[in-house]
């Protein structure tokens, strides 16, 4: 069935954004959740929402930050169910040969134990490399609050860095 649809993102524009940001967003979410399949589902969910709200998302100061935040806050829904119910295309078949779950080091385990807001600040400031002011605008909080959250988070993570047997990440 063919029908005319409105309000769709400009295909080339969304695709360009997606191609430019998807791997980085996936890796950042993966660091936060530690499970490759889960990270994929969350990021796919976030990009789907971005597609649906593209007129809004494209106007944001840092659209990829919106994707990462949405992924971290999203519940696994359609994408995860879909993977259980049907066999997927080649792109997922290729991924199936990898380890599904990352065995993370103490630093990443500590990152995942941080309170949500501290983890968001660390993700935006250190993984997405946003400055304090931009992070504050993205999160809708004061720059000073960003600094306070980051200070607490880094103090927590610091102990893991200083451990001599700390393992960063393994696959």
């Amino acid at each position: 069935m063919t029908r005319v649809r409105g309000m769709e993102p400009e295909p080339a524009e969304f695709a360009e954004f997606y191609e430019a940001t998807r791997d980085d967003c996936l890796r950042i979410v993966l660091l936060n959740v530690g499970d490759r399949h889960l990270a994929h589902d969350l990021v796919a969910e976030a990009y789907t929402r971005a597609w649906m709200s593209w007129r809004k998302v494209r106007e944001l100061e840092v659209p990829r930050a919106w994707v990462v935040r949405t992924a971290l806050n999203a519940h696994v829904s359609w994408w995860r169910r879909r993977r259980r119910e049907v066999s997927l295309g080649d792109h997922d078949a290729a991924a199936s040969g990898d380890q599904a779950t990352l065995v993370s080091g103490d630093l990443l385990a500590a990152l995942r134990r941080l309170p949500p807001r501290q983890r968001e600040v660390v993700t935006l400031r250190l993984l997405l490399d946003l400055d304090t002011e931009t992070t504050a605008r993205v999160l809708g909080i004061a720059p000073g609050t960003v600094g306070a959250h980051l200070h607490k988070a880094v103090a927590t993570l610091r102990t893991e860095i200083l451990r001599p047997d700390s393992q960063e990440i393994s696959r």
Partner: protein, 235 residues
């Protein structure tokens, strides 16, 4: 180690960890994302429409909305995919190769013409103003599942245009379609609260409500099912 050193060390560690994932790729194609977004939007639209039904009345379902009177026919909104395509200023009816009927509504006018066109395409149909339904028509029991199998609604390209797709093969034996044009005040008079009209339009169309005419209320196109009869649906 002072605060800056600590921050730098944490940043370096996280950057290194991210760098170790260089072989991890998001391989889902962009088109798969768009396809799912498109499907969700369609389901969302239908869910909103279904919700409006329960709030409104009977078997009729409120769907979206209308354009400005006098708005010229948009050729881009009525693609010529079929030699049987009829082009009219207010609406376009196109019979698809799979038998679906696409009704592109730009303005709610000439309901009798729309009714005749639908019947000519083999759809038992009654098209009336909501305020003055055909007294010979009897509502056919509607369920959400039946509604979604018969009707699909999309916001079309171009301001104020709504595309309604009718799947005649999903019509139960003895059932025909009913389309009713209602403007805001009429909708309210029929028990569809003005706020509900706005909510329906906003959720379904995802854009600000259109003014039907200066000072006038907003329009909605309502759809439902009726029992077929010679008097009501022409067959």
């Amino acid at each position: 180690m002072n605060d800056n050193d600590t921050l730098a060390a944490v940043r370096d560690s996280l950057t290194t960890a991210k760098g170790s994932l260089a072989g991890v790729h998001m391989n889902t194609p962009a088109e798969a994302i768009a396809r799912e977004g498109r499907a969700r939007r369609r389901r969302h639209t239908l869910t909103c429409l279904g919700g409006a039904t329960a709030a409104a009345a009977g078997a009729a379902l409120a769907i979206t909305a209308l354009a400005v009177p006098g708005h010229p026919a948009s050729q881009s909104g009525s693609p010529a995919r079929h030699p049987g395509t009829a082009r009219l200023a207010a609406w376009t009816v196109t019979k698809q190769v799979d038998g679906d009927i696409t009704v592109t509504v730009r303005q709610l006018s000439d309901p009798s013409g729309l009714q005749s066109t639908l019947r000519a395409d083999g759809v038992p149909a009654s098209v009336t103003p909501v305020a003055s339904p055909d007294p010979s028509c009897r509502p056919y029991p509607m369920t959400q599942a039946l509604f979604t199998s018969v009707y699909q609604a999309d916001k079309a390209t171009g301001a104020g245009t709504t595309v309604l797709t009718i799947n005649p093969s999903a019509l139960p034996s003895g059932a025909g379609v009913w389309l009713g044009a209602a403007f805001g005040r009429q909708a309210a008079d029929r028990g569809l609260h003005r706020a509900a009209v706005h909510q329906t339009i906003n959720h379904a169309v995802h854009q600000p409500v259109h003014q039907v005419a200066p000072g006038a209320d907003n329009g909605v196109l309502r759809v439902g099912l009726v029992s077929v009869s010679e008097q009501c649906t022409g067959s």
